[in-house]
């Protein structure tokens, strides 16, 4: 599936990722945990081709992504929901979804399936995205990424600033995607939420992937959480 091997990335002269490696399988939820500035978001951007990879490789089912331009990567079936949602505020909900559908030439069937996951959006199709509530905007950002019918979904802090009911809804969607065989890489600050749905956890520190463990094993290792995230037992 998605395989990231020993990648180095830089912002200018500053090295952000140092030989970082990870992989994710179909129907698996891999969570990236680490302190602010550890390189979690940069890892997602590198996978999407938004940050140039100077060394190492990224491949999806054996196809090298690291040589591709940013617009080519989503067309292979990688959906990305960045931190802060970044919707097209002046477009309606329907038009935002259409932008996602057009990328890989999907149509009404994919749209209906996606709207089935977020029924509230169905009632807002003609509403401008900028006028939605924070939770609805997050749902739309996820729905738009799902309109690509991705085999791998990258989520960067999807529950940031949301009320508990919305967080629960997004959690349910991520779990249902796992059942549908979609691989998910999740960056999340809420460790308790992560451990309840993740299959594996990859700890990132100073741009390096330090340890990768099964999620249930992490619960028994408060020392790791303290070291890499700065929180105690959950």
């Amino acid at each position: 599936m998605l395989d990231v091997r020993e990648i180095d990335c830089f912002y200018g002269d500053v090295q952000v990722l140092r030989g970082l490696s990870l992989h994710v399988q179909p129907g698996e939820i891999l969570c990236l945990l680490g302190r602010n500035g550890a390189g979690k978001t940069t890892t997602l951007k590198a996978i999407m081709g938004l940050v140039r990879v100077r060394a190492g490789t990224i491949s999806l089912d054996g196809r090298a992504l690291s040589d591709m331009t940013a617009p080519e990567v989503p067309r292979l079936g990688l959906g990305y929901v960045p931190q802060g949602r970044r919707l097209f505020a002046e477009l309606t909900v329907a038009e935002n979804l259409e932008i996602g559908l057009m990328t890989r030439g999907h149509g009404a069937e994919t749209r209906d399936r996606t709207l089935g996951l977020f029924p509230v959006l169905r009632e807002r199709l003609n509403q401008r995205a900028g006028t939605l509530s924070g939770g609805e905007q997050q749902m739309l950002a996820m729905a738009r990424a799902l309109c690509l019918d991705p085999s791998v979904l990258l989520l960067d802090e999807p529950t940031e600033g949301l009320m508990p009911s919305m967080i629960g809804r997004i959690r349910d969607v991520v779990v249902s995607l796992r059942e549908a065989g979609v691989a998910t890489i999740l960056v999340e600050q809420r460790v308790d939420a992560v451990l309840s749905i993740a299959d594996r956890v990859c700890f990132i520190e100073s741009g390096r992937s330090r340890e990768t463990l099964a999620a249930e094993a992490v619960r028994d290792r408060p020392d790791l959480l303290q070291r890499y995230v700065g929180v105690g037992a959950v």
Binding site: L50, L87, A94, I99, M102
Partner: protein, 316 residues
């Protein structure tokens, strides 16, 4: 619901074209000429709005494309004796070629740099028109003889024909633009305006779409320039000055950036504001300036942009 909204939008735009058609039979002769001129220049602004209002690129060099249209038409008529119909296409083709070249180079920049680069291209165009004075007659310009401004049985210098030719250009431009902004390509242009990086993350190549917008916009400007030369019979370097880069920006801002009909409203408003104020004061441009400041303060999204925001959210 969506279909109803689309139909309503189409009906509105066809209604505006029909109204402009009927106006020809009502307007006094003096206003005939003004409205014909407004329709040609509003076509210029329609194209500018595709680039600025829908794609989010502020060009300060559109006089170059308008100039390419008017010179591309005027020079082949004067130097090679081309008929008006062929010269019209020559003008559009000239503008498309120039906008392609400018686009390939200028779209490597963004924001203020894009504005400066487009401005420099237009200034280079202006200086070129002066340098080749032998052909262009520079600032003085040249007149296209009335006898040559004919397409088939239609004498384009005749006021009624001129009005309908201007209306035809505007109507074609309006409907092309309406179709474009309602198409999937139009949605991608808006998505690039809203968040270029995000559109790239979704698999779109912003450079290609921005180049398309620039070339389509250049084609509109070229068609307007070519038609202006044919209808009003004058070709000169004045059409390549920076004023003709600023005008479409002003018209679009006034009418409403990112609205299909906004450029027409803005151009009409500006023309008649100048016309009315110059009737009672020599400081008409001062009055116009103050009016524009007040208008922008009260209607920051332009006239139709504000109407869309407050009353008609379905307005494209």
């Amino acid at each position: 619901m969506n279909g109803m909204v689309l139909d309503r939008a189409l009906a509105l735009h066809l209604g505006v074209v029909a109204l402009l058609f009927v106006l020809q039979f009502i307007l006094p002769a003096y206003h005939h000429g003004i409205v014909a001129r407004v329709l040609v220049l509003a076509s210029f602004a329609l194209g500018y709005n595709i680039l600025f209002g829908y794609t989010g690129l502020l060009s300060l060099g559109h006089a170059l494309f308008f100039g390419a249209g008017i010179y591309g038409t005027g020079l082949v008529m004067r130097e090679f004796g081309w008929p008006a119909s062929a010269a019209l296409f020559s003008g559009i083709l000239s503008a498309v070629t120039v906008s392609l070249i400018v686009g390939f180079l200028a779209l490597r920049t963004v924001g203020v740099a894009f504005m400066i680069v487009t401005l420099m291209f237009a200034q280079a165009g202006y200086l070129t028109s002066l340098y080749f004075n032998e052909f262009t007659r520079g600032d003085e310009g040249f007149v296209l003889q009335q006898a040559t401004r004919v397409i088939g049985p239609f004498d384009l210098s005749e006021p009624t024909t001129r009005y309908f030719a201007a209306l035809l250009l505007f109507a074609i431009g309006l409907l092309i633009k309406l179709a474009l902004v309602r198409s999937s390509t139009g949605r991608v242009l808006v998505s690039i305006r809203e968040n270029e990086e995000r559109s790239r993350m979704l698999g779109y190549n912003p450079f290609r779409y921005k180049l398309l917008a620039l070339v389509v916009s250049g084609a509109f400007a070229g068609a307007a320039g070519a038609m202006y030369g044919l209808l009003f019979g004058y070709v000169g370097a004045t059409f390549v000055t920076i004023q003709y880069s600023i005008f479409p920006l002003l018209w679009v801002l006034l009418g409403g950036a990112g609205t299909v009909l906004g450029p027409l409203v803005g151009t009409l408003f500006m023309f008649y504001l100048v016309d009315l104020t110059s009737g009672f004061t020599t400081a008409s441009l001062l009055v116009v300036g103050v009016s524009l400041v007040v208008l922008i303060l009260w209607f920051p999204k332009g006239l139709l942009g504000t109407v869309r925001q407050r009353v008609l959210p379905w307005l494209p």
